[in-house]
Structure formats: C-alpha cells, structure tokens
Amino acid sequence: MEKLSKMGRVYLAIVFLILYAPIFYLIFYSFNSGGTMSSFEGFTLEHYAAVFNDTRLIIIVLNTVIVALLSALISTAIGVLGAIGIVFIRNRKMRNAVLSLNTILIVSPDVIIGASFLILFTMVGVKLGFASVLISHIAFSIPIVVIMVLPKLMEMSDSLIDAATDLGASKRDILTRVILPYIKPGIFAGFFLALTYSLDDFAVTFFVTGNGFATLSVEIYSMARAGITLTINALSALIFLVTLGLVLGYYFFSNRARMTIRPPGGGN
C-alpha cells in the first residue's frame, strides 16, 4: 500500500480528532471535582465512586450485560443455523429473496423496529420488561449474525461436504465436524457484533422497556434529561473502556482465525 501523503495524514488526524473530541471531553470532565463541565477545578475520582455506590445503576449495568450476552448467544445460534439454511436453498431467486429480507431488517431504522415491537408486545400481551427487551434484541441481532457468517459459508467448497459424507459422516457429523469449525471465525465475529449492538442499543430498547427495567443507554438518557451530573461522564468513560476492550477482543479473534485458517491452494 502506498504511504499516506502529509496532507492525507493531517486530514485523517483532523477527522479522528473531531470524531473523538466529544468523547475525550466527556471523559476529561469525569475527573472534574467542580461538578460542571464548564471549568475544570481539580482531579477527583468521586464521580466514579458515585457510579459504584449507586446500586440501582450497578443493577442496570448488570441487566444490560445480561441482555447483551443472552441476546448475542441466542441470536448467534439462530443466525448461524439460518445462514446455513440460506446457503443450502437451491432456488437462486428464493435465496436472494431471503437474503434481501435479511438485509432489510439490518438497514431499517431502529425507531420503526422498536415501535413495531411495542405494538406487537402490547397486542400479544407480553409484559414490557426484561423479556420484551431480550426478545427484541435477539430479533435485531439475528440478521447481523447471518451477514457475518454467510461469507465464510459461501467460501466453503461443496466438495468438503461431499468428502465428509464419503468418509461416512452423517448430516449431524457434517454440521458439527466440518461446517461449524470451518465458519468459526464468522461465528465469533457475529457474536461480538451482536454483543456490541445489544450493549449500545437505545432506540429499540427505549420503546419496549417497561417500568422497573432499564438498560444503560435508556438510563443515561433519562439521567441526562433530569439534569447533567458528572456521574454520567464517569459512566460513559467506563462504557467507552469496555467497548474498546470488546473491539480489541474482536480483532484478536479475527486475526487469530486468519492466521490459522488459510484457504488451500498455492505454495509448493
């Protein structure tokens, strides 16, 4: 790859500066003992202490993580099976139709998904709360998992399945011993993406969460509406750190997968 020119580097730096400046501004003032975001008076960790002393907040964090983990796990399982199903649809038109339906779910606005879930849950009579949030998170994560897993499945040669059958493998053996190991990198990618989508989802959750149950994004929103406190800053800083960790984790997995699974061919 060509090296970036000086102008290019300056441009890139400015873009990233603009993108990250608000976040770092927020994090910076989370250490402010002044209590406002207008003047920095002195360094303190009291806002962080406030976060950890607020049991309600801790419970909400736990809720958020549980919903994220559960929805990511369940949607990964469903999404992987769905992707395998899509790949094995013989009819080309049918397959493209299913894929388009899947893509529409990804690109359609969260507000619409959230609103339609709200209507659905009230019609069916599901009590708004943990279950409704979990179900909607699973629902919007499945298409994401499908999209992450599909390329790996497409890349897999049909003869691998023939070979496994030839060696006596049943359909179940083929799934567990050939297909799943082969698409493992895609599964991990899908899982991590679903996890992050669930962690920072606001719009859908806002619609389907009821009284007594909240996730972090919804809670921060209502805290901000009640008035700015630097606790929000501290909380945001912590979330930023966790997200950073997740992204690094994702790269670690996908890199390792690329190191070990190289396509056959070439190199004598």
């Binding site: 003869s159 070979a163 059958t165 030839d166 060696l167 006596g168 049943s170 493992k184 056959p264």
Partner: protein, 368 residues
C-alpha cells in the same frame, strides 16, 4: 459375468434437469483389484459415473451394484467406497493426522486403533512425520498424498479418484502416476480413476473406458485401445493418429490415398467404405522410390524425443510422422509402413461387433 465382479452398472441413465442425458444407458462391470480409468473429454459423463458409484447422486434409470447388492438408494456415507477429490477437499481446520483420522473418528474406533491406522496410511503415502502439520503448510503434491491416505485408511473395497493429478505440474504428475499405480498394486484394491489425459490413462490402467457424450465408446487394455481403436473419436483421442478415408477392396486388400495396399484385416464387405488409421510412429521416412506413398513436407516441429513432421500426399490427405530423422520442409519424401500398421475401422460399428471381428482375425499381426 465373472464371480469377481465388484461394481456393475446395468443400463444406467442419468439425466439432469434441463441438461438432457449426461449418461445414456451405460452398462459395464468392474473386477476386483484392478486399475480402471474412465477417459474422455470434459462433459462426457465420466465424473457422473464416479459420483454415482460414490453415492452423491442417484441414477435416473437403471441399477448400480456394489458387491452384488443394488445400491441405488443407499446413501454415500454407508458405502464401502472412498473418493480422492479433484481439489483434494481436505479439511482446512484439521491437521494432517486429523484429516486422515476423520473417517475413523466417525466410526468411533478406539484411540489406539485410530493412531495405528492413520500412521500406517501416512507411511503408505510417504508422509511419515507430517502428522502435526497444518494443511496450509503442505504443498500440492503432499496434499494429494494426504487425500489418498484419507481414502485408504478406511480400508474401502473401491477407491475413486476424480482427476486427482490435474492440479500438479508435469514432473510431479508423472511421479504420482508411478506412485498411484504402485500403491494400487500394493493395496490390491479396485481403483477407478477419472481423467481427460490419455497419457495418464495409458500409463496406469489395467483397463480403460473411453467415453463420449454419456456413452462408453470402447473399453479394453491400454494396448488394445491404442492399437485397435474402434472409431475415429477413440483413435483421435488416444494419441496422435492419421485418419483417412478408404475402401476395402477384398480380404487383406485396402485402397486409400489412390493406391492399393496389403493389410491384415478381413471379413468386411467388398468395396465397403472404411476409415484407415496409421499411427505417426508407424510411418517411416524412406527415399522416394522405396516409399509406399509420396508426400510433401509441410512443416516440422522438434518435440525433444522426436521430430513431428506434417506432410501432405498427392490426393491432399495429411500425414503426421514421428521420426528421429530430420527432413527438409518443402521436400518430397517417401513414407513406408508395414501391413500391420494399417488399422481398418468400419463406420458406426458397435463395440460387440468390433470385438467379434478382432477375435475372428487371430492374425499374428494383431497379437502384440
């Protein structure tokens, strides 16, 4: 039907939607422990036969027998047949040992047994010490061997090979031809090898099936097929040939290139139109006056082992000559050949009639 038959096709037809018949009423029988080759251009149905034996597809019509049992409806994972795929189809997420062990693990054999058999199979294909390697670390030739080891480790009665050498370079391919042939003889298993490369087929097989458009054109030993091709297609596909039109004057007399020649064929109708095949290596360059036909040299290529000389006779027939002697382009030379070198092909002769006719000759010239 011999008692040692292992695979039998009875009037098998295979049709794909919208593609017509890929196989057309094919019948044949394979004996245990021999090396068979299905030879033909792409799209002739040879791979379809392989996939039918393996069980990846079911015949549209007809019956397939393995060891005397109809297997039309038995799924691929229950057949005592293993395949070496064209792209090897090795599992990239498993190392060499686990690739070879795959079939045995499915069968849930004991750990020690698996280890013993895998190591033995790897030893067989000269890959001792490569167990821990990743597939991505293996070269093309080594992957080929892993694929073979993975097939033989299951101890199948029949091993199917789908153009396994086509991805290798020429030198490696020749090496692998020797190895495969030797491996087959050591194992004593039935090998069914699919290729479009006639040299490969001639070098390795006990018996060759030459196929074209879903039908078997001719089957026989490499020598039979090379020396006595049944028709223009087979003569052309197996090696280089000169094929010219001729007329059978009488028993042992044939006319082509505006001259009459002595030949060893008999039992055909008088004045029957035939096609004449003479192999380029059976034509010898001689002085003008001693040659049986006179030709003009059109072009000459150096092929390493011999010169490939393209010539034209007085009637306009082309004659390809393989000779170690060099000639001058544009010069007129004589071509000499033995009566035995003339091979007469009847037009549209069936394989049975052809075999019967050859049987009837019993002429010394045909016993090579």
């Amino acid at each position: 039907m011999s008692g040692d038959s292992i695979i039998r096709f009875e009037n098998v037809t295979q049709a794909y939607e919208g593609a017509g018949n890929v196989l057309n009423n094919v019948s044949f029988e394979l004996e245990r422990g021999k090396f068979y080759t299905l030879l033909g251009p792409s799209g002739c149905g040879k791979t379809t036969i392989l996939r039918l034996i393996a069980g990846f597809i079911k015949p549209t019509k007809g019956d397939i027998y393995i060891e005397g049992q109809i297997v039309n409806n038995s799924p691929a994972n229950e057949r005592q047949v293993n395949t070496v795929f064209q792209d090897y189809a090795l599992f990239p997420h498993l190392n060499v040992f686990e690739n070879v062990a795959f079939g045995l693990r499915i069968k849930k054999l004991k750990k020690a047994e698996i280890e013993r058999r895998v190591l033995e199979a790897l030893e067989f294909v000269n890959l001792h010490g490569y167990e821990k390697r990743d597939i991505s670390e293996m070269s093309g030739g080594q992957r080929q061997r892993v694929a073979i080891a993975r097939a033989i480790v299951n101890d199948p009665e029949v091993i199917l090979l789908d153009e396994p050498l086509s991805a290798l370079d020429l030198k490696l391919r020749t090496e692998m031809q020797y190895e495969l042939r030797e491996l087959q003889q050591r194992l004593g298993k039935t090998f069914i090898f699919v290729t479009h490369d006639q040299e490969e087929a001639l070098a390795m097989s006990d018996e060759i099936f030459v196929m074209k458009s879903g039908e078997i054109q001719q089957s026989g030993t490499p020598l039979d097929i090379y020396d006595e091709p049944i028709n223009r297609f087979v003569a052309d596909f197996i090696g280089e040939s000169n094929i010219v039109d001729g007329v059978m004057i009488d028993d042992y007399r044939v006319r082509f290139a505006n001259q009459e020649f002595e030949c060893v064929d008999q039992g055909l109708n008088k004045n029957e139109k035939v096609e004449i095949v003479i192999r380029p290596e059976d034509l010898h360059i001689s002085p003008l006056e001693r040659g049986k036909i006179t030709v003009t040299v059109d072009s000459q290529l150096f092929r390493g082992v011999h010169y490939e000389i393209s010539t034209v006779d007085e009637v306009g027939n082309e004659w390809l000559v393989h000779s170690t002697k060099k000639v001058e382009v544009g010069s007129r030379i004589g071509l000499d050949f033995e009566p035995e070198a003339i091979h007469v092909m009847r037009l549209n002769e069936s394989e049975e009639a052809f075999d019967a006719r050859l049987e009837a000759y019993g002429a010394p010239g045909h016993e090579k």
